[in-house]
Amino acid sequence: MSAPMDKPESSRRQFFNGTVRGAFLFLLGAATTLLFRRSQPKRTVWQIDPYKCICCTNCATKCVMHPSAVKCVQVYPMCGYCKLCTGYFEPEPISLDTGAENQLCPTGAIKRRQLEDPYYEYNIDEPLCIGCAKCVKGCVLFGNGSFFLQVRHDRCVNCDECAIAIACPSQAFQRVPADKPYLFKNREHQA
């Protein structure tokens, strides 16, 4: 069927295709140069600025991971080791002990350990924590704010766009360099 008559038609098409291909190559090249100027070898990951977070509970519900990749962390040097920890206890606890009915945390993820009187150490049992920020709110409002939320990178899958970031009312999420993936609070900042 390919009569010699078809030849000019097909070579014309080939020429046209080749030209467009060249144009595409040029475009790709241009895009590459432009992009390289705006790119960096480092990867970025998502992290919460704890000084912006307003403890809205979205972190528990909007993450693509269930339970959330956001967890509460405890920075011990900032903690007051309070007997009445407002991050640990309900506002009106029946008694100041580890009974579940006294605890703020819905999953019982905070472990309380008595040290020398009157000090208590509070630890987060991360697998249990769902990142609901209830304890954070309690600690920030009435305590030292040593509890705060962080994206935990052993669980976070580093979504291209973090699903919580777009739902966060205080725009506390930001991309940070992957080799410095945490934004911890510190005492100097508080002072």
Partner: protein
């Protein structure tokens, strides 16, 4: 007594101004004696950087292998094996991010927002498949893209989608691409990620909506070949554009098609372009008039799209956090809304002046005003060009894969009787030549 003390404590604490809440040390940390060892908060590291270079290396290797398997080896089994590998590596191991499809948005954000620096690996995921497609056709789709691989593997009982529906739905990827770029470039949302049907399946966790979407696509995909690829995938839209002009690509029976139409039945993706032997409009004057009318219609569609885009630019822009926040603050200040939202409360806590917020929202609105018009016009253009392409008679006299739609799955190779004979003949000589250049033999 204790109760009262506590009540007092709470009362004093409650009266503390909220603004100060972020930076207060209310209870000095105790000085412990040497006996106490303070625990150190762990910082589990993010995935190592070199691993993402491995990802890029695997991508290049998979692309090269796919191109070799499809074009040189012409092996459906090879493609199948590669699909399984890609699904496991890019899907279940890499858990979907970053993928080439989503990278479109990073690229758009980086190009239009000087503030965003895109990681090199993301750039590689965006560019490499395009580059390969430019030379070898959509071999990325054949067995490298985990989304395509997933759909390819679940396809059991393909049904044929009627041509008109195929054409109509075929415009969706371009619309989606345009919308994805619009929302990413303005820094509002990554909609392509938000409605990614399979990523929740790779992670085997996610919201109910996402998992349900994935399951729905898989179930439909048993009967309709690659529903996401053909009717939604925005990156596929880009690839199909590029693939039209690729140097090599899947071709059948380079010498003589016997019009048995077996390949057409075999291709589950409706990618075999039917030859149109007879021109439906033999009268050249009528044809010219028809062409002119279609061109005019396209121009009209472009204008209409642009106008619609302009109308929609304000609702679109409300997807941007800054704009919706500014709206909320303005409404609150005007007394229209009593109840503050979390976002507006957070904003007021920062003490940032409202004017700054308004100015920023205004800038975003401006970007949307331009972007939405362009987006609308683009959609109009896509509709117009689709109309033109379906009504123009294709001058072709053999059955052959359409480079735009063919995802290089390699199924048709095994069915074309002429191809089978050809492969047998060549296998005797133990060499399989590279597929001919597109358009070389065909009239």
């Amino acid at each position: 007594m204790r109760r009262m003390l506590r009540a007092c404590l709470y009362l004093t604490l409650l009266s503390l101004p909220l603004v100060a809440a972020f930076g207060v040390e209310r209870f000095p940390p105790p000085e412990f004696d040497a006996g106490y060892k303070m625990p150190v908060t762990t910082m589990p590291p993010a995935r190592a950087l070199w691993l993402s270079y491995v990802d890029v290396a695997v991508l290049v290797a998979a692309l090269a292998l796919a191109s070799y398997l499809v074009l040189k080896k012409r092996s459906r089994d090879g493609v199948l094996a590669l699909s399984v590998f890609s699904l496991l590596y890019f899907g279940f191991y890499q858990q979907g991010c970053v993928c080439s499809i989503g990278s479109v948005q990073d690229v758009a954000l980086a190009l239009f927002n000087s503030g965003y620096v895109v990681p090199l690996t993301t750039v590689a995921f965006f560019l490499l498949p395009l580059l390969f497609t430019l030379f070898f056709g959509r071999t990325f789709c054949s067995g490298v893209c985990p989304m395509g691989a997933m759909q390819d593997l679940v396809l059991l009982k393909p049904v044929k989608v009627p041509a008109w529906l195929e054409h109509a739905l075929g415009t969706l990827p371009f619309v989606y691409l345009g919308a994805g770029i619009l929302f990413a470039a303005t820094g509002s949302l990554f909609i392509i990620c938000e409605y990614d049907p399979f990523v929740a399946l790779y992670r085997r966790t996610g919201s109910f909506g996402m998992l349900a979407l994935g399951a729905a696509f898989l179930i439909v995909g048993i009967f309709v070949g690659r529903p996401y690829c053909r009717f939604l995938c925005p990156y596929g839209a880009l690839l199909s554009l590029v693939s039209r002009f690729s140097k090599w690509g899947v071709t059948l029976s380079p010498t003589d098609c016997i019009h048995c139409q077996i390949c057409d039945t075999a291709c589950p993706y409706g990618a075999i372009a039917d030859p149109m032997l007879k021109d439906p409009h033999p009268d050249p004057r009528k044809r010219a008039r028809r062409r002119l009318a279609l061109l005019a219609l396209t121009a009209l569609l472009v204008v209409l799209g642009g106008w619609l885009g302009e109308r929609l630019s304000v609702p679109f822009s409300n997807s941007h956090a800054t704009v919706s926040l500014a709206e909320q603050i303005a409404a609150e200040d005007a007394g229209k809304i009593k109840e503050p939202t979390d976002a507006s409360k957070a904003f007021r806590q920062t003490g940032q002046p409202v004017e700054e917020l308004y100015a920023e929202a205004h800038r975003v609105r401006g970007r949307f005003a331009v972007g939405s018009v362009l987006f609308g016009a683009f959609v109009g253009l896509v509709f117009g060009l689709t109309l033109i392409s379906v009504s123009e008679p294709h001058e072709r006299n053999v059955y052959d894969p359409d480079p735009a739609d063919c995802v290089s799955c390699g199924r048709c190779y095994v069915y074309c009787p002429k191809e089978i004979v050809r492969v047998k003949r060549i296998q005797g000589k133990n060499v399989i030549p590279l597929t001919p250049v597109r358009g070389e033999q065909k009239g």
